[in-house]
Structures are given as C-alpha cells and as structure tokens.
C-alpha cells in the first residue's frame, strides 16, 4: 500500500476542492467574549477547594503529618518543652515537610483527570492557573497552621503562644506566600513526569531552604523562654528577606509558568 499525499499532484485537484474550495477559513469571532482573568481565577479556585473538600486528600494528611512529627519530637528530644532556636527549627522543618505533601498533590487531580487539557483548551490567560493554584496551596497552608501551631504550642512549646502571636502571624504570612509560589511552580514542573513524587521534593527543598532559614531566624526571638514579647517582634531584616524572596519567585513564576504548561 502506498501512502497518498494530497499535495503530490497539484494539477489534478479532486472533486472535494471543486465543491468546497471557495469556502475559506477565517477565525470567526468567538460566540462568547473570552472571560476575564479574575473570573477564571475564581472558577479555578472554587473548583480546587471543592475537590479538596470532597476528597480530603491534602489538608488532613498535611495536618496529621505535622501533629505526628511534633509527637515524635516530643519523645525523641526527651524534653517536655523547647524554646528559642530549637523551637523555631522544629516548627519550620515540620511545616516545610507537611507543606511538601500538599505540593505533591496540588496538580494530581488535573493530571489524572484531564483538567490540564480542559484548561489549556480554553481561551484564557494561563497565569490564572498559577494564581489559583498558589492561592489554593496558601489556603491549605493556613488550614494546616490552624491545627499545627496550636498543636506545637500544646506539645512542645515552652513560652506561651499569646504574646508572640502577632509577630508569628507576620512570619507565617510571608513564609506561606513563598511556599505557595515555589510549591506551585515546582508541582507544575514535576506533575508531568513519571517520578513526580520524587522530583517534587528534590526540586522544591533547595529552593525552599532560604524560606525556612528566614522564617526560623525571624521566629526564634519570639520563642525565647522567659522573654516573650520583649524583642517587640520578629527581626525586620529576616522579614525583608522573606518578602524579597517571595517577590523574586513571584516574578519568576509569572514569567515561566506558561512554558511549564506547554507541550
């Protein structure tokens, strides 16, 4: 059997052309105006939270991991309480690894159920997915911390949580933003590979180390036993570092996210 190439004989155009050759293609106007990016972000975020609410695949696992880790630390350190640098380190390393569970799951439903293709077929700005996914991950991190931080205070922390709370809130907010942006970027990169469960953490952890360092250093003075509140808040330079890191990776993610979704 020989392959037919329609262009092999331009001098003998078939009946197909004779009948329809004058029907020329013009990209017709869309029947519906392309949606606004904010509307797409809201749709994506709503879908994301609905799926999580029904499957409970991310937040419960992240929270359980964090609480279990605090229990392990409680016994492994052979101390009833921790404070200062050690407390900050335990808190942020635990939150980091708990966050990785959410990062690994972030795009799984989309990859397995065709959500990527459904999104890519729509006439929308692809950055909408970056923003929606980062917001979803941010929401998961907040939910995680609503459970993990009180559990940490209960199981390990020496100084009372109350006075240090506003300062801790500022550190959590900046660190969570960075975790959400970098986590989304890495998850989008890893999800299309066969080794996504391995590749995600391998790529994310080096990028997240500065966030953990900044967050731990900013948190440490807040957790000093006997002097809660005396420092007045987290050190500004570490908050600045976290803010700058978030900004830089926000811009990088904005610039490259389109390419991550392309074939």
């Amino acid at each position: 059997m020989s392959a037919s190439n329609p262009a092999s004989d331009p001098g003998t155009a078939g009946p197909h052309v004779a009948q329809h050759g004058d029907v020329h293609a013009r990209p017709r106007p869309l029947a519906h105006a392309p949606p606004r990016t904010t509307s797409v972000i809201v749709a994506l975020l709503r879908k994301e939270l609905r799926v999580e609410l029904r499957t409970l695949e991310s937040v419960p696992g992240m929270s359980l991991f964090a609480v279990s880790t605090f229990v392990v630390f409680h016994f492994a350190l052979n101390r009833t309480t921790v404070d200062g640098d050690l407390a900050a380190g335990v808190l942020w390393v635990t939150l980091l690894f708990a966050a990785m569970l959410g990062v690994n799951r972030l795009f799984v439903a989309d990859a397995e159920q065709g959500g990527f293709d459904g999104f890519l077929l729509a006439p929308v700005d692809r950055t909408a997915m970056l923003i929606a996914k980062a917001l979803a991950l941010l929401a998961y991190l907040v939910m995680l911390e609503l459970i993990a931080v009180p559990a940490f205070a209960l199981l390990l922390l020496g100084p009372p949580l109350g006075q240090m709370f506003p300062g801790l809130l500022a550190v959590l907010a900046l660190a969570d933003l960075g975790l959400a942006i970098i986590g989304t970027l890495v998850a989008a990169l890893a999800v299309r590979t066969r080794a996504r469960d391995l590749l995600g953490p391998l790529l994310a952890l080096p990028l997240l180390v500065p966030i953990v360092i900044g967050a731990a250093r900013a948190t440490s003075p807040l957790l000093v036993a006997g002097h809660p509140g005396q420092v007045g808040g987290p050190p500004f330079r570490w908050l600045l570092l976290l803010g700058l890191y978030d900004l830089v990776f926000g811009l990088i993610a904005y610039a490259v996210f389109d390419f991550l979704l392309e074939d």
Binding site: M1, S2, A3, S4, N5, P6, A7, S8, D9, P10, G11, T12, A13, G14, P15, H16, V17, H20, G21, V23, H24, A25, R26, P27, R28, L30, A31, H32, A33, P34, P35, S39, V40, V42, A43, R46, K47, R50, V51, R54, T55, A109, Q113, G114, G115, D117, G118, F119, L120, L121, A122, P123, V124, E262, D263
Partner: protein, 258 residues
C-alpha cells in the same frame, strides 16, 4: 490497496502559497491554505517513536474528516496537535488560518475536543463540571442548564461524576464540548458507550451541519463513512488513504486493520 490511492489528490487547490516556517512537507505549498484545516508534512515523535509522519491535507469549513486506523496509528496524536495541545515536530499546521503553535491563542476558543478522557473532575457533579468549563469559556450558566436538559441529565446534574456510568459520563463530556459552540470539533470515537437514544440526543450538538468543521476518529467503517466528506486512513503514523468519502468503500477501511 490499489495504487489509485497514491494518485488521489484531495483537499488541494492550485494556490501556491508559501509554506509556514519549518514546514518540511515536500508539497506543503500546494495545499489550500484558505481551508479550515491546513496540514503540510506534519510529523510528531514521542521520544524515538514516530507517532505521525508526513501527513498533509486540507479541509474546508463545514466539512468532516474521518480518520480511520488501528490502535496506535496516530489518530489521537493528530487530534491533540489540531487541538493545540501538542506541537508538531516537523511540518506546518494551520487551523482557521492560525499557524500552530504560535497563533494557537487565536483559535483555542473555537475548538472542542472530545477525547478518550472526558476532561471532567470525578468528584464534582455534572453541573459543577459544566459550570466550571462555562466559566473558562465565558459562557453563561443558562447554557449549562440548556445542555443538561438537551442531554437528559438534568435530574442527575447534582450527582458526582464518579457515580455515573461511562455512557452518562460521555453525555456530560459531549455537553462540555458543545458548551461554547466551537467551530471545530475534534471527536475521538464520539458515540462510544452511548445507547441509540443517547446518540440521537447528542447528534444535534456534534453532528454535521451548522457550519461546524469536524475531525472524527472512528473504528466504524460504515458509520464513519456516512459522516465523512474526506477520509484519512492512518497506519503506523503515516497516511495510507486520503480520499473523498464517496470514493472509498468500507472494504478499504477494513483493509487498514489487517
């Protein structure tokens, strides 16, 4: 297969416009670039494996191309290239005059893809899935309700998709494809899992007419031929048959599978 296949010239006119950048089809410039679809020397690889090679054709607006071929012949890859989801590794592809992948953004809202996967979330209800896709395409929610009624799934619209049978999922997937009334329908075995009554329900949405241009992958020679204006037979990624449907009989289609 007769040598006549090789002599057939379909989807051509005598225009000799330039090939798009990168087109490697030997005859790319002779295809009808005013067509809804214009493919010249298309090739696509998965690693070392050649999924499509030297595919060239053009299809006018409102026409239906039916693609036949055994499993692994490259049908789904062809649909995904036309849907802008995969890049061609060689050759040129234009959809409604927009060169892919560079101008893909111009035509994305005009393409409806129905593949093997329904592109729907199992944990969401049919209504939620369709509303989500309606938002992505800027379509009013009223259209969702209209399609749920048309496809007789209104009464199960608030049940999660994971509870649906394959046929019901296919109905919802067809509703998703038809939501934004696309000018180009890319349909991979669109009637799979549908009962005869459901087929009649979906025909007005994905059938011929209404100015829709369609590319359909099928394994049903008689059913496929009945819908086709142009027939493409693929084997191992290469075009082994390309003719008007009137000039093809079902025996030739069956030959593709031997």
């Amino acid at each position: 297969m007769s040598d006549g296949i090789a002599e057939t010239t379909i989807g051509l006119d005598r225009t000799t416009e330039e090939s798009p950048a990168g087109a490697q089809g030997a005859h790319a410039g002779e295809l009808n670039r005013g067509s809804a679809l214009w493919i010249a020397g298309l090739a696509r690889f998965y690693g070392e494996r050649e999924a499509l090679a030297d595919i060239s054709l053009s299809l006018d607006c409102g026409q239906t191309l039916v693609v036949f071929g055994p499993n692994g012949a490259g049908k789904t890859t062809l649909l995904r290239v036309l849907a802008t989801l995969l890049r061609a590794h060689a050759g040129g592809v234009e959809v409604f005059g927009a060169a892919l992948p560079g101008d893909a953004w111009r035509v994305r809202g005009q393409i409806g893809l129905l593949g093997h996967e329904p592109l729907l979330y199992r944990e969401l209800t049919a209504r939620e899935n369709l509303r989500y896709h309606a938002r992505l395409h800027g379509v009013a929610p009223a259209r969702v309700e209209e399609l749920l009624r048309t496809l007789a799934i209104s009464d199960r619209g608030d049940e999660p998709l994971r509870t649906f049978s394959r046929g019901m999922v296919q109905r919802v997937a067809i509703a998703r494809v038809a939501l934004h009334d696309p000018a180009l329908l890319l349909l991979d075995e669109p009637y799979a899992n549908l009962d005869p009554a459901a087929i009649e329900l979906v025909r007005p949405l994905i059938g011929g007419g209404g100015g829709r241009t369609r590319v359909i992958c099928s394994h049903d020679p008689s059913g496929g031929l009945a819908e086709a204006d142009l027939v493409l037979g693929l084997r191992a990624g290469r075009a082994v048959l390309l003719r008007t449907a009137a000039d093809v009989d079902s025996g030739e289609i069956a030959e593709l599978y031997r």
